[in-house]
Symmetry: C2
Subunit: 249 residues, 2 copies
DNA sequence: CGTGGGGTTGATTCTTATCAATTCGGGTGG
DNA sequence: CCACCCGAATTGATAAGAATCAACCCCACG
């Protein structure tokens, strides 16, 4: 059976700016076709035509690139409410592969739905622009993370980022990822991820058991990771102008 | 004195889709205020209000992040015709620093100009969306590069990418970057960049002298770097629909 | 001539990958 | 309930890649 029928996307977007009925309907169209995918299932192949995107309703997914020598790099971890493949929109073919990291429910929708939104609602267009910009800043943080931080700092940063993105207020949350997946995200071997968890544990920063991370000392962890949450905080700036323009006309 | 008065942005955008007079004028407004900056000059500080962007008319620039411990990571290398800070648009404050890598000419413009464009031209909005998506795919390629390739592969990939972005058809081009800058881009020490140039040279792939790279065997270099140019090739998909809609109304 | 910045080279150290062996935990089938 | 299997996690030993440190060269520029 298929999970909840509230729209994750509408929920997320309306947290930035109020949406009218038309806008809500346009967005809801993106989530009209919920389907289940099993852990490990592939939602889109690299190189296939980029004419279908997904909204993620529940579960975790990722975008990956696989190199000729078989090495894998995970580019994004997607959480419910996100759109899979937004950046591929401007490309003829998918550059990356989209894969389920847990059992999940996602809604495929054709490119045309996005085109409709761009034609009909400048406000929503802005919000999509913002979404893309936010994704980009996460990517930048990943470049910094992989390029300039040690294994322990990377893992600490990764955990804090997830905690913030999950909107977790309690000091523990479920992390349903294999260590090999975490490794492919942070450019570490799975073996070293294991070691690094141990290190963070020994430093008294986190405890990991049964797929649940417990953050013992958030401030220390944030400090240790060099984490600055501002890169996750997108704004919708010019929407007001557009609203005013619309009201004036 | 200030360089050429043709608009780089108009040129770049019109290579994707034809622009009418209004659109050209809107874009040209972004380049109305050319200014010179010296090599090493800082165009925008991290943490400052993100209300001013730049178009780059000539010279090279970069976006960087500096960590608490002083390490630096270069996030983008900007070439003429690009916009500096597009992704910061959805943020209240700049996340990164923008710095001149050569003497250059750039045109600052206020956020309002972009807002105007978004309000007045869905077609240009699409093109900006595409630009952002293209930047994002370059960033992804950088993640893969830093995360999963050896120093020699990274440098090879970097050089091929620049060659393609510069639209260079000849087998050599000017690379006005210090090795420390290349290192900060590829997450290598400047010392190791030096060594890596030597390695590539010994393999007969490139020759570097006097700030000029000569590519001896492009096919071999592309093969060695694992380079696939498709990530640089953005498309403008739904513009046609919008044109048709506009024509119909 | 000095001086200084960038580039090169060699020696050493550190971090992380790789390989191999072992443990742990969750199914499955007898 | 137990034996078995399998994938994941852990641990240790070793090796490779890149950083760091230090010395030196080269050259442009005063």
């Amino acid at each position: 059976m298929i999970a909840s029928n509230t729209s994750c996307i509408v929920e997320r977007f309306s947290s930035f700016t109020p949406l009218n009925e038309t806008e809500t309907k346009l967005l809801a169209a993106l989530e009209s076709d919920p389907r289940e995918y099993a852990d490990g299932a592939c939602l889109a192949e690299p190189g296939s035509r980029a004419n279908r995107f997904f909204t993620l309703k529940s579960g975790w997914a990722c975008a990956t690139r696989t190199l000729a020598n078989g090495q894998r790099q995970i580019l994004d971890i997607f959480l419910p409410g996100q759109i899979l493949g937004l950046r591929e929109m401007s490309f003829e073919y998918n550059l990356s592969e989209f894969r389920a990291l847990t059992n999940l429910v996602a809604c495929p929708f054709p490119r045309q739905h996005l085109s409709d939104i761009f034609e009909q609602s400048p406000k929503l267009t802005d919000l999509f622009f913002m979404t893309l910009a936010q994704e980009q800043s996460m990517l930048i943080e990943r470049v910094v993370n992989i390029g300039r931080r040690t294994a322990a700092e990377r893992l600490a940063h990764f955990i804090v980022e997830l905690k913030v993105r999950l909107n977790q207020t309690s000091e523990q949350f479920s992390l349903p990822l294999k260590q090999s997946v975490i490794g492919d995200t942070l450019s570490l071997s799975s073996v070293h991820v294991s070691r690094t968890f141990k290190t963070l544990n020994q430093r008294g920063l986190i405890t990991m058991a049964d797929g649940v991370v417990r953050i013992n000392d958030l401030d220390a962890l944030v400090e240790f990771a060099g984490f600055d949450r501002s890169y996750l905080e997108g704004h919708c700036h010019w929407t007001k102008n557009i609203d005013m323009a619309a009201a004036a006309s």
